[in-house]
């Protein structure tokens, strides 16, 4: 996958993250994906994808505070970068182009 394009799972993760403007940690993202797309995501797949998105410059992360319900472990909170938002927009345009019917079909020819 080239550096400026999004794979389908990357699109799902980044698109979900974009709807959470204040950022989200893994649990919040997994819950949101499961709720909205009825898809159970493995924490491994999620973190390897977020890692890739970070390397591409589409997301960034910072460590949050440790909490007792996490066994004293810190959250890693992810947010979408400006480059990530641009990539999402570009992918959206591409998908619209691909899924819209050809001009001839629209005109009934």
């Amino acid at each position: 996958m080239s550096r400026d394009t999004l794979g389908s799972f990357e699109l799902l993760v980044l698109g979900t993250l974009a709807h959470l403007p204040s950022g989200a940690h893994g649990t919040a993202l997994m819950a949101r994906i499961e709720q909205r797309h009825d898809r159970e995501v493995s924490v491994g797949a999620l973190y390897t994808t977020l890692d890739r998105l970070e390397k591409k410059g589409f997301a960034r992360s910072e460590w949050g505070e440790p909490t007792p319900q996490r066994g004293g472990r810190r959250k890693r909170i992810f947010t979408v970068t400006a480059a990530g938002a641009t990539a999402l927009g570009r992918t959206q345009v591409l998908l619209q182009t691909l899924t819209s019917p050809p001009v001839a079909a629209r005109e009934g020819c």
């Binding site: 940690h25 493995s42 491994g44 973190y47 810190r74």
Partner: protein, 170 residues
């Protein structure tokens, strides 16, 4: 519970109002036989809490009042003649996955291990409250099994990249 309160409880806005209402109802259920003063203090405390802090509070309460043989809060007071109620067992702890599998997960997930293991534990508690401990245990085991594959693959890719760089250098 009003909408403003639900929004305040929501952590990153990813819980539905139904989930928050259900969790709050669980907390109220746990408190129904508690001493009225204690109940007021606890309900007063949750005003500024997030959803996950609410879950944590439920975990603490089930730990303190739910153990078999331990009287419910307030029930030991003279004259507190309350009917016996079924109380939840101890708060569910993550299942004992193979220590080897967990050690490998910790190793291959590298810098993510703290976040990964924390997310698993946090979601386990949430699912145990929502779906019951059996389903939460099954989910936890499935997550560890599936995540190992993803992390091992990333680890192999990193090793391959390092080897490739070393061979170029020479």
């Amino acid at each position: 519970m009003d909408d403003r309160r639900i929004r305040k409880l929501s952590d990153h806005g990813c819980q539905s109002p139904e989930e928050i209402r259900a969790t709050f109802a669980l907390l109220q259920d746990l408190l129904k036989d508690a001493h009225p003063e204690y109940r007021d203090v606890v309900l007063g405390q949750i005003k500024n809490r997030t959803y996950f802090e609410l879950l944590q509070l439920i975990g603490e309460m089930t730990a303190s009042i739910g153990r078999p043989g331990v009287d419910p809060v307030g029930a030991e007071e003279p004259g507190a003649d309350r009917p016996a109620v079924d109380r939840p067992a101890d708060p569910p702890a993550p299942p004992a996955v193979s220590p080897v599998a967990e050690a490998i997960l910790r190793f291959v997930s590298g810098v993510d291990s703290e976040a990964v293991l924390g997310d698993l534990q946090e979601q386990f508690l949430e699912r145990a409250l929502r779906d019951g401990p059996d389903r939460a245990h099954a989910w936890y085991r499935r997550q560890v099994r599936r995540s190992l594959g993803a992390f091992v693959w990333r680890w192999i890719q990193r090793i391959a990249l390092i080897e490739s760089l070393l061979s170029r250098l020479g």
